[in-house]
């Protein structure tokens, strides 16, 4: 298990474009919140409690390590990583911004292909997450559940029959499960229906957020759809509901794309090629502009407007490769925004070269 390899590589296994419905769905994620029985929750456990959790989890991780399906994994204490390294982990969606900002007493457990990732001492003692390419919530659930079982083999969880898995925030209690589907919705945004679809989702108990989770904006027309309630129905039922609703969103997005193609083909082609032109030739580009243009180019590839030379895989990789932390990691030093914008433009030009 090599952390540097993860930090220097913008590719993660969830970027594989062969996942189901990958024209709309970038990735699926399942997260399980768990706490240990004998220690107060992170908000009140103090430094000593945090160290106890780390020690107990370290022992349990040895079992993960030995598991033929789940291992090998590595556990890293966040206060032993540099700022930039933690930022890259956020940009790769492996840890939350909050986890990176308060590294003391916290850790992350990672599998080399990044499909399994466990935050230790974030809002809950354990946040077990599994990430899969395309629409594969069941697969993500299987992995997260398997890791959960291995850890529970050694750790006593805070669980009660009536309320289920006990969590810091009552919004997560019960299953502790949050399933989320990361979708690219340029079609719905262009035809002006995105807001309508999202308000319908809200009524069905699902939430829509931007690319980087709670409170973040939807850059690049990328949204996360996830369940809001975790108590009552079983994990399978929660995920079935999320899948059914996501399937509707996917269908609406494809309809919108078809309508745009048939009614405004020339304008759409123009928009896609202009975006490609700027991305592949710019000398200075901000991350906001890059992701906005990325959305147009990705749509162009998905609709067959751009047919040669750009792989979906390479485009997905740009989602991480154009982020400020990753660029500075690759360059090997901290850069002012202006310097980053120039490095970013160079990196994109290089990667989009046909």
């Amino acid at each position: 298990m090599n952390l540097e390899e993860i930090l220097y590589n913008s590719y993660s296994s969830w970027m594989d474009p062969s996942g189901p419905d990958s024209d709309v769905v970038l990735s699926s994620r399942v997260r399980l919140a768990r706490n240990l029985e004998d220690v107060a929750f992170p908000s009140r456990m103090g430094d000593e409690g945090a160290q106890r959790v780390l020690r107990m989890v370290e022992r349990a991780v040895e079992d993960l390590e030995r598991d033929p399906q789940l291992g090998p994994v590595g556990m890293f204490r966040l206060d032993q990583l540099g700022n930039l390294d933690r930022q890259v982990l956020v940009e790769k969606h492996l840890i939350s911004p909050n986890h990176a900002q308060q590294p003391r007493g916290r850790a992350v457990i990672l599998r080399q292909d990044e499909s399994l990732c466990i935050m230790v001492n974030e809002e809950d003692h354990l946040r077990i997450q599994s990430l899969t390419p395309g629409m594969q919530l069941d697969e993500a659930w299987r992995t997260a559940q398997a890791a959960d079982d291995v850890l529970e083999g050694r750790l006593n969880y805070a669980f009660c029959q009536r309320r289920g898995y006990l969590t810091t925030c009552p919004t997560n209690v019960g299953t502790g499960l949050r399933g989320s589907v990361m979708v690219h919705l340029p079609g719905l945004t262009m035809v002006g229906q995105a807001r309508q679809v999202f308000s319908a989702l809200g009524k069905l108990g699902l939430a829509v957020r931007g690319l980087y989770g709670e409170g973040s904006e939807a850059h690049g027309n990328i949204f996360q759809i996830s369940n809001q309630t975790s108590l009552g129905p079983s994990e399978e039922e929660i995920l079935r509901n999320l899948k059914a609703v996501s399937a509707q969103v996917i269908a609406h997005e494809r309809n919108a794309r078809r309508a745009l193609l048939s009614q405004t083909r020339l304008q759409l082609e123009d928009r896609v090629w202009r975006a490609y032109g700027i991305l592949s030739h710019a000398r200075v580009i901000s991350s906001e502009e890059a992701i906005r243009l990325w959305s147009d180019v990705r749509l162009g590839v998905d609709l067959g407007i751009i047919t040669d030379g750009i792989s979906t895989e390479a485009l997905n990789e740009l989602l991480v490769a154009t982020r400020p932390g990753f660029i500075q990691k690759v360059v090997g030093r901290e850069l002012e925004p202006a310097g980053r914008d120039a490095e970013r433009a160079a990196l994109i030009r290089h990667r989009l070269r046909r």
Partner: protein, 168 residues
């Protein structure tokens, strides 16, 4: 669109009010909206804890019993109910017992239900599994009794007894 109040600044706050069945739309700039007191929430970050806290305290209107609840305290971690209502975060697993009555209504508002129906820990969850199976059998028993299938009812009753023995 310009603010309906001052007519100078652009309207960035759009409000729909329904008063006695009459719908009224207001388009205001932030300053005027603030001056009119239409902006209860602007300025405060729109975060999960603030949202949650408004659910816990019922949007500022205290729900029955909240007055006494504010003084409640978890004797293990020391968290008071008032602190929980402010942050939306519980301190330890014992808080779930210490604030059980209050959480019952919080959970109902958040999840629409209050009882877990999902996974049970595989190693330590035997008791929970047994209890859940007993509950299921008791419901089944009630059904077969209604249908007057007494032979089946006897079988189910025996199964329940066996499981209850295991629980002890």
């Amino acid at each position: 669109m310009l603010c309906q109040e001052c007519g100078k600044r652009p309207a960035t706050v759009h409000l729909t009010q329904i008063i006695n069945g009459q719908k009224r739309e207001l388009h205001l700039c932030e300053q005027c909206a603030r001056a009119r007191g239409e902006l209860g929430i602007i300025g405060e970050p729109f975060t999960i804890p603030t949202l949650l806290s408004s659910i816990i305290t019922d949007g500022g209107h205290t729900f029955p019993g909240a007055g006494q609840a504010a003084g409640l305290k978890c004797d293990r971690c020391g968290l008071t109910y008032a602190e929980f209502a402010r942050t939306g975060m519980l301190g330890c697993r014992h808080c779930y017992q210490a604030f059980e009555d209050q959480l019952e209504s919080v959970l109902r508002r958040l999840h629409g239900t209050t009882v877990h129906g999902g996974k049970v820990p595989s190693r330590t969850g035997e008791e929970a599994r047994l209890k859940r199976e007993i509950n299921r059998l008791q419901e089944e028993l009630a059904q077969v009794v209604i249908r007057e299938e007494y032979e089946k009812a006897a079988q189910i009753r025996d199964r329940i007894r066996d499981l209850e023995k295991k629980l002890r």
